[in-house]
């Protein structure tokens, strides 16, 4: 499987190198044929269903093992919800629902959701890339049972469209919309945990790019007769980015190796805290060392930093997970800290 994954990672890099550039990111609409071509190549290689069961036409590679793929996709700044599709399809497949073809996005949150006669009404919030697809996954608790709900003809009133962030996001109000399929989710699938892991892996991919951009920029840009990289003040700032990034990557490798079991559920919290914290530092420092050029739309840094700002707030920010960790330790056991940690 490792070899299989290696080949997939390599193929993916090639596809993304071929298609993704900064002008593509500035025109994320379904009419853009370049966007369509990119998606077609992605789909042709089976990437959307990489973690889907074989019986549904997937590769059945465990979701946690493909986190390096999520990193690569976001390291290239791919302006398509491939990461969202991979996670949605994984959850659908694990809930015994055959994932549809094409892009599948998910709702991070909902409000006043009502389900009656296989129809859904209410507000569906913070949906990435709703402009590119009709397929949507909602995870919703109904009579104490968590359900995966697939909608394949999403339609409704757009009540808010966020433009601050790089990827398009929508809040939408729906009324009596048909549900394509609804099934209970297995106990071991926790959407909030998986979402936090997904966003962290995306952040780490993007942060690697941001650090590289900063290193390259500072090595070329000259001021006071020498490149910025020769200034110790700059070197130290970039080192700080690298240090924070390496801590996040270490936290991610724990999840990639261990997955999400009973014993290591703290690792998701640790990962989201570290990645969110690192993102804050890295956004600030990368813009600082880039100067004004980094603040322009034309230069690609902002595409990544805007996304980082968005992802660090999804599925619980640092404070949310810090409280989660702290509460868990303080309330649920009487061990001393060292025993608990080991």
């Amino acid at each position: 499987m490792i070899e299989e994954l290696e080949i997939i990672l390599e193929t993916t890099s090639k596809i993304l190198q071929k298609h993704v550039n900064h002008s593509l990111r500035q025109n994320i609409v379904s009419e853009n044929t370049d966007i369509l071509n990119l998606w077609n190549d992605i789909e042709k290689n089976g990437l959307p269903k990489i973690s889907v069961k074989e019986k549904f036409g997937g590769y059945e590679i465990p979701f946690f093992s493909i986190l390096p793929l999520i990193k690569i996709v976001n390291n290239h700044g791919t302006p398509l919800p491939l990461s969202e599709t991979i996670l949605s399809n994984y959850i659908l497949s694990e809930s015994d629902i055959n994932p549809p073809n094409g892009i599948v996005t998910f709702a991070s949150d909902t409000k006043n959701l009502q389900i009656k006669n296989n129809m859904i009404s209410g507000e569906i919030l913070s949906v990435p890339y709703l402009n590119l697809t009709k397929n949507l996954l909602i995870v919703h608790e109904l009579n104490n049972v968590k359900k995966a709900i697939l909608i394949n003809e999403i339609n409704g009133e757009i009540i808010h469209k966020k433009n601050f962030l790089a990827e398009p996001r929508y809040n939408i109000k729906v009324e009596n919309l048909n549900i394509a399929e609804m099934k209970p989710i297995k106990n071991n699938i926790d959407f909030n945990f998986l979402g936090a892991i997904l966003r962290s892996a995306q952040m780490i991919g993007a942060m690697e790019k941001v650090v590289d951009l900063s290193i390259n920029y500072c090595s070329e840009r000259k001021q006071f007769g020498r490149t910025l990289s020769k200034f110790q003040a700059i070197q130290h700032q970039i080192s700080e980015m690298a240090v924070e990034l390496s801590a996040s990557s270490a936290a991610l490798s724990t999840i990639t190796e261990l997955g999400l079991g009973e014993k290591n559920s703290n690792d998701t919290a640790i990962l989201k805290i570290r990645a969110g914290f690192a993102a804050g530092k890295i956004i600030a420092i990368s813009h600082q060392v880039h100067g004004a050029i980094g603040f322009t739309k034309e230069y690609e840094l902002s595409y990544f930093t805007k996304n980082l700002n968005s992802w660090r707030n999804d599925f619980g920010n640092e404070s949310f997970w810090e409280e989660f960790l702290g509460k868990r330790f303080l309330e649920k056991n009487n061990k001393n800290l060292w025993e608990y940690l080991t």
Binding site: Q235, E240, L330
Partner: protein, 384 residues
């Protein structure tokens, strides 16, 4: 920027059992009043009899070969043992440097006589070391050392001064970095060599320097034309720089870079558990996330050392993050005194806290300053 990975390393059942064994031993020691847990114990708290006891348990020189009295265990096993000793504040200062770096350095570069005469004593907890790098005029700029070794008929003559030599007054040996030939114009790193110096030799003078806590661990070590035998040279003449860089990797990546004040955190949480449940879950969560990440990273470096890699840069990452964490931890505890005023803390906890507050500035100086760590990282990123 994916050059510096810290692959996940799992703690096997065998390692967990070893951890349990060490923990039981320590609990017994504490129950029998053999030691009182203290902060920064790997620097300040030396107890040769405790070191000997640890040695007899087989927990010193753990990864050294059997033929030299070692135990041929893995760097990961050593990691687990050191974590347990540090987190309990055990008095490990006497043997710390010998076990952490000097022994490995001798095994790697030493000649047969050096190995067979010294390594078995290190593993027995009977032979202690001090570090001979810094000098009055050479701190961060280590390559500028002026201590000089000159070839004589029978060996070498050592002349110079080393400073901040922690524990030199208790140590038997010091590995001294000295100039054996002038630095070349192009390369200041040339012409340095390492020497294994017996501190009981004539003309070695060790003077204590009280630190700002009033305690003595610092020393100035004067070598006033000390006659060294021919085989005091450690490794190759002129290759001292390369050797010392490897030694620093051993020095920087261990759990002492983030567990120096763990006893304080532990006592703090035990004392204020109930208040923390109401108003401190977030800070406790933050601290847990930091410690666990550092443990994973440091453990990962141990595994790199085990595999014979040279993780100098990764070690700098761990040290830098660890130093930052310890400062943040003390600051976090200080902030908590808004909820329970400091003067209402139990005496012992107040002492631990004040002690840590006093000592914390040294954590990002010893073993290489923050600025040096960042410089190392920047170089590896291609910025220098």
């Amino acid at each position: 920027m994916s050059k510096f990975n810290f692959p996940f390393i799992k703690e096997t059942n065998e390692l967990s059992n070893l951890r349990k064994e060490v923990r039981e031993f320590i609990t017994n020691c504490i129950n029998n009043n053999e030691f009182t847990p203290s902060p920064d114990a790997w620097v300040f708290s030396a107890d040769p009899s405790f070191s000997k006891k640890i040695g007899s348990k087989g927990w010193l020189g753990m990864s050294f070969p059997r033929e030299y009295g070692g135990h041929q265990r893995t760097a990961l096993e050593r990691y687990v043992v050191t974590e347990e000793l540090l987190s309990s504040g055990a008095p490990v200062a006497a043997h710390w440097i010998a076990d952490r770096q000097s022994g490995s350095q001798i095994l790697r570069y030493g000649n047969e006589k050096q190995k067979s005469s010294i390594i078995p004593r290190i593993t027995a907890g009977e032979c202690f070391f001090a570090i001979g790098m810094s000098e009055p005029d050479s701190g961060s700029d280590l390559a500028s050392v002026k201590t000089k070794a000159t070839k004589t008929k029978n060996g070498w003559k050592l002349e110079g001064r080393k400073i901040w030599s922690t524990g030199a007054h208790l140590a038997h040996y010091m590995i001294v970095l000295a100039r054996t030939s002038p630095a070349s114009e192009k390369n200041r790193h040339e012409g340095l060599s390492q020497f294994l110096v017996d501190l009981s030799l004539p003309n070695v003078k060790i003077t204590g320097i009280p630190d700002m806590t009033g305690q003595r661990h610092f020393n100035e070590t004067l070598f006033d034309n000390v006659e060294l035998s021919d085989d005091s040279l450690l490794g190759e003449e002129g290759k001292g720089w390369k050797q010392v860089v490897g030694e620093l990797a051993l020095e920087r990546s261990g759990p002492e870079r983030f567990l120096s004040h763990f006893t304080l955190l532990d006592s703090f949480i035990n004392e204020f558990r109930n208040s923390l449940i109401h108003s401190g879950t977030k800070i406790v969560g933050k601290l847990i996330s930091e410690i666990q990440t550092l443990r994973r990273m440091s453990f990962s470096v141990a595994s790199m050392l085990q595999n014979g890699e040279s993780p100098e840069t990764q070690a700098a990452f761990v040290k830098e993050l660890g130093n930052k964490f310890e400062k943040m931890m003390i600051e976090t505890l200080r902030e908590f005194s808004n909820i329970v005023p400091l003067h209402e803390w139990p005496n012992q906890l107040q002492n631990l806290f004040e002690d840590a507050t006093l000592r914390i500035p040294s954590n990002s100086l010893r073993g290489g300053t923050t600025e040096i760590m960042k410089g190392i990282i920047a170089r590896q990123l291609g910025l220098r």
